[in-house]
Symmetry: C2
């Protein structure tokens, strides 16, 4: 995959990318103050009614601004409890309850206002309600703005595995208002940066280099840096998704750090580690295993660990999980095909590869060293 080229200098305050998926393609609009701008929604709402799906944390902060932007439509809303632990079939059903109670037909557009959990659940509800209604993502966390809003993956967790139940359902549009990051807890901002770093690692070395300088500016919410990082991440994800919408091949690269990360999240109980924290550590672990295979220089591993740490993210896995439990948790992951554990590893910074060749003994040793802090 060819790189995106050097990072441009200053970027416009409002940017628009188009995700090229043929008739399911859609725009991502990024900028400050989009939330209450009617022009962001008008072209994408189908019919006269919208159902806003949000949570108890985000709604008090941003629901009124969004309602102002949607004033031209008949507005319904459902406010869910906040947290990954509510990303389940029972909470999903509350969206269906609300839609049916309000007699919403197929011409109702769902609007997801919140982070990745809200986006995944509202998107899955939109995929399933009457077998499919339109939806718009309005992500309010950095993680959701750079990652969850792109790619059409929607779904809920099962006690036995994260995102095990879901659908591919593309939004009509993604409206990413960077002003909403002002109220995001620092820990969640860091979690979002894990996915930003991931894009540099997978296939964009200029972006990785840029991040080594700009992480402090991002953590300080400097507008131009944020817009650049979000747009560049979305561009990276969009071109991978566009090339492979149904996750047959290249798209699997997006799982860099995620097999380890999912195991951390599931093994410690969802919600203990934030998803992005687990991914941050997972990126380091993927780099360490890559080095153990002789694919990556020790200096590269050190740079990756340093960048992840500079984002305010953990770089060492929990010691509470036995190595047997690790392998067990990684084996339920969706990367298993025909019983073989497939992993995304690194042949260099900006060069991720999918492999099915990992010796379980080597994997076990790498995990143990990472836990001991000796890798």
């Amino acid at each position: 995959m060819s790189a995106l080229g050097p990072i441009p200098a200053a970027v416009a305050e409002r940017q628009r990318l188009d995700v090229d998926l043929g008739e399911r393609g859609y725009p991502i609009v990024i900028g400050r103050g989009l939330l209450s701008d009617p022009d962001c929604y008008r072209p994408f709402v189908v019919g006269k009614r919208v159902m806003i799906v949000s949570n108890e944390t985000v709604a008090p902060l941003y629901l009124e601004a969004l309602r102002a932007g949607l004033a031209a439509f008949e507005i319904e809303q459902v406010i869910l409890p906040d947290g990954e632990c509510y990303k389940d079939l029972a909470t999903l059903n509350r969206i269906f309850d609300a839609l049916l109670e309000r007699r919403c037909g197929r011409d109702t557009t769902l609007i997801a206002l919140g982070g990745g959990v809200i986006g995944d659940m509202a998107g899955f509800a939109a995929a399933c309600y009457q077998r499919g209604v339109p939806f718009i993502q309005v992500p309010t966390t950095l993680l959701a703005q750079v990652d969850s809003s792109v790619g059409g993956k929607t779904g809920v967790n099962h006690p036995a595995g994260k995102n095990m139940i879901g659908a591919f359902h593309q939004p009509r549009a993604v409206i990413a208002d960077t002003a909403t990051l002002a109220t995001l807890p620092a820990r969640e901002l860091s979690a979002g940066l894990a996915e930003v770093v991931k894009y540099g690692l997978i296939a964009d070395r200029p972006f990785f280099d840029w991040l080594e300088d700009r992480v402090p500016a991002l953590r300080a919410l400097e507008p131009a840096a944020l817009a650049t990082a979000i747009a560049r991440s979305c561009q990276n994800k969009a071109r991978i998704v566009a090339a492979d919408e149904r996750e047959a091949g290249q798209r699997a690269l997006l799982n860099l750090g995620h097999s380890f990360g999912h195991a951390i999240e599931a093994g410690t109980g969802y919600g203990t580690w934030l998803h992005g924290e687990a991914v941050g550590t997972g990126l380091v672990m993927a780099a360490q295993l890559s080095a153990r295979l002789g694919w990556l220089e020790a200096t590269a591993v050190a740079r990756i660990r340093a960048l992840v740490a500079s984002c305010g993210l953990p770089t060492q896995p929990p010691t509470s999980l036995s190595s047997a439990r690790w392998l067990e948790l990684m084996a339920v992951d969706k990367k298993v095909q025909a019983g073989r554990l497939r992993l995304v590893l690194l042949k260099g910074i900006g060069e991720a590869v999918l492999t099915a060749d990992v010796d379980p003994a080597l994997l076990r040793a790498s995990i143990a060293s990472a836990q001991a802090g000796t890798e």
Copy 2:
């Protein structure tokens, strides 16, 4: 839509139709004794593992035969309770539980062995498990063989409405073994015939005429008659679905009788009336309303009522529902667009039309007359 032409004379014992949906196209194989024939499955199973989804009624009768046909694969199974009342998210989750407990990956093929409820639930589970795995329909009721197995509609009910939660997900193949009908209760055979009659009414007058003669043979399970009726129904449905996979227009014609039927099912409590019984009465009610609009001759209404009755189906709606409740139930139905009730009615036998022009007062009067038996 052009008709299919005259009904052919004797048909081959094993027939194959191809549903033309491009890369999502699939074959429907119809015949006696297919259940345990490995050749029916081998080309369509992806990977080495299958998960059979069946229920407590069907499994004791046919699970062993199916397992014999699938002997080349690693077989898992999950047996659900039987009945429309279990077509819900909680029972669906038991399929996910089983898949995760057995560590099934994305290369597992789900096999639905049972009637429409099992097919809809297993198909929806296949649509959602890890965002989509392959599945094969092995329908064991006439209703499922002629209707539920074609069209890719999958889903579950919500207390506020039937099939409100679901997905479009096409099977890899449909294997319809007519020998399984030998154990089908007469009442369910009749329910299946309601959908058969529906195809004649929508767009196939020669088939309607043929049915007026052949219903006794079908109720006596005469093999050639069954094969002809199933194949012809599937052909009718397949050509409508192929023309309109996502239900934008023509496909809505398949709902002939169903708006009324859904109201009967929901209003009396799911499971009191069989789906096909409600549809049978719904066909008569659609004909009656069409006559009230001046679109259909009284003689045609009489022929339709007589054919439905000859199938062993009810032709008169329950008197327990008030007319307000009827309209309320019909308004939740998926046929509502922009607040207008869209209905499928008849301009003749073999000529169904979708209309949004029905005066609610006329509809109310027609329902009242049908309830009173004076229509």
